[in-house]
Symmetry: C5
Subunit: 92 residues, 5 copies
């Protein structure tokens, strides 16, 4: 899984039927010390995440396991809202 | 999933039988503020996307779920046409 | 899927039984304007591609769908020979 | 699989039901000579790893095979604690 | 698949039961002209590869197909020992 921060939302009227009703959140990957790195992805929210929240997301085929419709074409899903990150070193 | 913009189309007469009839669109990944980054990929269109449109695409084995032929060797599919991107920060 | 150009061939006598008889082509990923970027991969040819040809290849578990032996440990397969790339912008 | 070092832990009260009870460890990928490179990931511990330990982790759908709940949405799991790395060259 | 060179070996006493008995080889990805690039990975040997040998390895879920235990959490496996690389251009 990966750490990310929700930075926005995507609206797409014309989409795959199995994505209808899903909440598509623009999620920025974060690393050490919550630094931002890499391209934002679009993850299906499954735990009620909101913009600005730090989240845990899963990618690849495992993501569809967290979705309401297990057959949906989903390769990224938010599966947790981070309470705390206990880093064990400087810069964490 | 990822955000991209359709920038062209691939024609390949000699191809896997299960790809016959698919529309193969050259798709450039986009990030924050719709900046372009990384290599263009070839995604199978499943929602009627056209050149210049901003799209949502899925990669890996999940992509074949969006295809007409669920057994096709497809690892990238366009599954939505983006209406709007509601960024919640500068540069979005 | 990805665009690539075939730049060579691998010979490996000692290999997994399910790879026996496969044609293993060294394939260089190409991007905008057919610029080369990233590491070459080894893709199983399934459409009769030759050195110097521009090809379409699929990666991950979907690649084995294009192979003769659907149970083979294959994570990259050439599934099309590109006739034309219709770019809709400069530098394409 | 990949080599990593455990550098912290994530707490997430609101998460997918199938992640309840899992230990989510922040894991920094390491390379040659145990140099650190790339973004830290979040891996489910399956072998009793602790902070500071060098570990072996698996990614993608294979990770869920190591988890207690084989249906959990897990794409990274720690599957070994490294005793020794026998490099066969300088800088290893 | 990818080209690599075996540069060492990992020993991990505490590991997933399904990894017991596997040979875990530190494998450095190689590219054009056998240049080294990217992080070394840990691949399960399935063809008797040794340190210093150039190998062909598969990643992702397809890797477990080459393993003795098809249910093992394996995302990288050496599936061939390279005899020759026939490059069709300079620097190959």
């Amino acid at each position: 899984m990966y750490m990310g921060v929700v930075i926005g939302r995507v609206t797409a009227t014309r989409k795959d039927d199995k994505l209808i009703g899903t909440k598509l959140l623009i999620t920025q990957p974060i690393g050490m010390g919550e630094s931002e790195s890499g391209m934002p992805i679009i993850a299906v929210d499954t735990v009620g995440a909101g913009v600005g929240e730090k989240v845990l997301y899963v990618t690849g085929s495992m993501a569809s396991r967290a979705a309401a419709d297990k057959d949906a074409p989903i390769d990224a899903a938010i599966v947790g809202i981070i309470d705390s990150l206990d880093w064990e070193r400087q810069g964490g």
